[in-house]
């Protein structure tokens, strides 16, 4: 499969990227790991006359942990994320989730920023970022701005990012308590049939606070305040889990596709969330 021809750019800094995006508008796209964009270009479902490769931009790389504030550069690969000891200690849910993305070769190339920015409902990082209440740093011609991950997603492949902006990094506070990223997929490497990101903080033997986000069960990730509220103050007993699942099912809106009909997806979502809460609570 041969994609349509394009001009290729490999700028050294973000200003160079913004200038190219301003010059070429809709005809330009940035390339991170390429494992979503290149297949679409090969199928000619995406035509990109001006392709801007971000691989040489140092400002988009690196993971920093400053006290309890964690910053992950857009071009950090899933492989780097998985193998970063400090991050695995400070926010272990990220490693648990990233290990469930695609396969080793794809994880060497696939980036955190690409996974977040693409807006594919099947991507795992968007829901995870909503669970962690991450802030997304964008840069455009008018400077930088920050958007909460929970406000970032508008529809499938539609986000708050403007065409002449790029995603620079994500920032979040190191989570406390127990965690779990639970994902049901048809085979290893697949996108989720249903996935759940759960963080639970425990105080005096009870749930002090919880955060729950679901993946691939709507055209955007679903952060379920209702499900988290059900857990608050509980000891995650069976009745509470059922109430949390019921609340979550009220928030998701799956559609039928090759991963199954709606009823099946709702069934799987309930099981996955129950498992995720149980595991997060055990670790809390």
């Amino acid at each position: 499969m041969i994609p349509a021809a394009f001009d290729y750019y490999r700028p050294k800094d973000v200003e160079g990227v913004i200038a190219l995006l301003q010059e070429h508008g809709d005809d330009a796209r940035v390339l991170a790991g390429g494992h979503s964009l290149i297949p679409m270009m090969k199928l000619r479902m995406a035509e990109v006359p001006h392709l801007i490769d971000l691989q040489d931009i140092a400002a988009l790389k690196g993971i920093t942990i400053d006290q309890d504030t964690i910053t992950i550069g857009a071009m950090v690969s899933q492989h780097e994320l998985i193998n970063h000891d400090g991050l695995s200690a400070a926010a272990p849910i990220l490693r648990e989730a990233a290990l469930q993305i695609a396969d080793p070769q794809v994880r060497y190339m696939g980036t955190v920023g690409g996974n977040i920015a693409n807006g594919d409902p099947g991507n795992d990082m968007p829901g995870l970022m909503q669970c962690l209440d991450a802030q997304i740093n964008l840069l455009g011609p008018d400077g930088s701005r920050t958007v909460a991950a929970r406000d970032y997603y508008e529809a499938a492949y539609m986000t708050d990012r403007e065409d002449d902006e790029i995603l620079i990094s994500v920032v979040f506070t190191a989570p406390v308590g127990g965690f779990a990223y639970e994902k049901q997929k048809r085979k290893i490497g697949d996108y989720a049939t249903a996935a759940a990101a759960v963080q639970i903080a425990k105080v005096d033997g009870k749930v002090a606070s919880a955060s729950i986000a679901m993946t691939n069960l709507s055209d955007v990730p679903v952060w379920s305040q209702g499900a988290a509220d059900e857990l608050a103050g509980s000891v995650c007993e069976t009745a509470t889990l059922k109430a949390a699942v019921a609340a979550m099912l009220g928030d998701i809106d799956p559609t039928e596709d090759n991963r199954g009909p709606v009823a099946f997806k709702r069934h799987v979502a309930g099981i996955i969330l129950t498992r995720a809460i149980t595991r997060a609570w055990d670790r809390a």
Partner: protein, 164 residues
């Protein structure tokens, strides 16, 4: 059509310089321009791993990388891992343990496995299966591939210990 780019690649220790369209995929450049036909085109959709090469120390599916992205890179293909008269331990192990049948996936399997054993020199069976998840084989059912890699790991570790 876009302009051709001046591309430099180091493949298996040898420098190559040529003109190519940015849209040329790395796998086709290796196979058709440089005549390095060890990496195979299986699915052409980044699922099967038959096109796996090592690029700047990463296992990469070369069907999902433009040659422009690879410009300046150091690449190792199966041809750089062993030769017919001097097989790599992994190649010898695949032969010994019947880790292949038709052989189509084997260059990708072995190229990926070299990197896996670099990162995890003494893997468990589970780690081998997880680390090889990006490579598909339609003949063997994977049992003998896993066996081959575990045996090669033991042999490499024994050689390492003997050397120390």
């Amino acid at each position: 059509m876009s302009d051709k780019m001046h591309i430099k690649l180091n493949v298996n220790g040898e420098d190559h310089e040529f003109l190519a369209e940015p849209r040329d995929l790395l796998i086709y450049t290796l196979r058709e321009k440089l005549n390095i036909t060890g990496p195979h085109v299986g699915c052409d959709t980044s699922h099967c791993g038959a096109c796996t090469v090592t690029l700047n120390g990463k296992s990469v599916k070369s069907c999902t990388m433009f040659v422009a992205q690879a410009n300046g890179a150091e690449i190792t293909t199966i041809e750089g891992i062993g030769q017919p008269d001097a097989l790599h331990v992994l190649q010898e192990s695949f032969r010994e343990h019947h880790g292949l049948q038709c052989g189509f996936c084997t260059p990708g399997m072995i190229t990926r496995a070299t990197k896996l054993l670099e990162e995890i020199p003494n893997p468990t069976e589970k780690e081998v299966r997880f680390g090889m998840a990006g490579n598909i084989c339609r003949c063997t059912g994977y049992q003998n591939i896993v066996k081959s890699i575990l045996a090669a790991a033991s042999e490499l570790n024994a050689a390492q210990e003997a050397a120390e």
